[in-house]
Amino acid sequence: MFAYAVRRILQFIPTILVITLIMFMLLNVLPGNAAMMAMDSRKAKDPEMIEQLKQRWGLDKPLYVRYLLYLKDLARGDLGRSFIRGDAVGGLVGARIWPTLKLAFTAMAIAVVLGIPLGFFSALKQGSWLDTGSMIGAVSGVSVPQFWLGLLLMYFFAVQFRLLPPSGYGDGDIAHLILPSVTLGVGYTALLARTTRAAVIEVLNTDYIRTARAKGLSELLINRKHVLRNTLILVMTTAGLQFGFLIGQTVIVEKLFSWPGLGSLLVDSIFMRDIPVTQGCVLVIISVFLLVNLAVDLMYAFVDPRIEYS
């Protein structure tokens, strides 16, 4: 178990390295690359000034040197400096992490509490009105565009009934959190319900359930002890993988609700052509996603005794 955990954590490092490489190349090699954007953002026209700016940001060095320098800084926790404001990207990004995490985890909690039981009972009562209803709901949930759902919720709960604030972070209170997290959570709830239902149906068709029935165990006991446990293992892994879906969507929800998180910083930095900030946001978002997957994998190994660690 310990060896497995160490190996899984070590796998994390090359993955994140390749991702930094891909992102660095994307942002620095493609036409209209970071260097040119930096000039744009300062409205620099004078060739001498451009040279100066290039030197200041280290853009005059060859690409591989810049990548290695970037990695060196990264290893020390330095994400570079904003082209526009000159602030350290680390600080800018750091201030935004908590609001995003708060939003994502609240949405995930909503999804786990609603989606898993919904999928579970739908599968047990296949073809019932509960099953049909919740599966229609689930396919709608994965199809609905988040920003539209958010607009509708905003219209009903903030404009019409004036129950909740339409947007903003407030002072971090729950009232401001409800609409964004529900908007974000709906799609994930639907995904979890579908995944859980499929997993339960798979488990119900296994031999050990048939054996348990043949032994004369009560349905309640079978469902609780055999089905639920085995299903949760299946659901956990996909839930982790699908967390990326959720993290990706925070961008839209944050922008819609003027939520001061990583996603809105990312979009703003793209509009301001502030590549170091864009790069920092993307890296942090992906890292969060990878860390969650790592945690899920370790938990999975811990929960499922069948996994071989060697």
């Binding site: 942002l27 539209w148 993988l241 990326g244 979009v267 997957n293």
Partner: protein, 281 residues
Amino acid sequence: MKNLIRKIKGRTNLMVGGIIAAIVVVMAVFAPFLAPYHPVNDADLMFSEEPPGETFWMGTDQQGRDILSRVIYGARISLAVGLICQVLNTSIGVILGLTAGFFGKWWDDLVMGLTNIMLSIPPLIFALAIMAILGPGLVNVFLALGLTNWSFSCRITRSQVLFTRGLDYVKAAKALGYGRIRIMFTQILPNIVGPILVVATLGVADAILLEAALSFLGLGTQPPTPSWGGMLSSAREQLFTAPWISIFPGLAIFITVLGLNLFGDGLRDILDPHTTRLGKA
């Protein structure tokens, strides 16, 4: 053939999804005949923010343009994005998956490594990073989304190839002296089209949602081109005074994506009863 028709008729999701998809295609193709007004030029500030009524069934936007006409024309953008991006994604995914599964060895390791890394980047974030460099615009959306979502096609193709590779008819083709390329494209590919098609259908839905999201953020299709996501991007400011500006374009995205998802699910039930949507984010 009769069997197939019966199978299709038994699938409500396939039927409903297919009808919705057909309506969207008709809207896109015959937009100039269906739309009562021109989506861009018929702007009249005298009729700004008219609520839905007899003249304007879905109301008008802040510039007095008929929302119904813009929704009808918007089908063109969404459909084009969905199809073009998914053709790109499927081509990349199928070629990588086919060769990885068939040749194996270091190439397989490389492709699968890359696929797993792509799967660990949220699609919207990757698309945003590409848009950050290429700048806003429809053509760049094609590129960004066409390069983003190929990993699912790649994975399903590879796993199908691994399964098919050992079957007798492939061995027979080898014994007959067929070349490797010929075996890949004439023997293996036609037999694994089903699952690839399922992933592609669901991918079209994903691409439409992503384009709408990018346009909503202001990075996708640029005004005045009518795109469903773009129509919603400025709608928030009018939410208090003219909520219909928000309602109809969003409803169009929702119904289209729902239709494609239902169609994809139904297709899978028929073509590929063993796989579930597990792992498909």
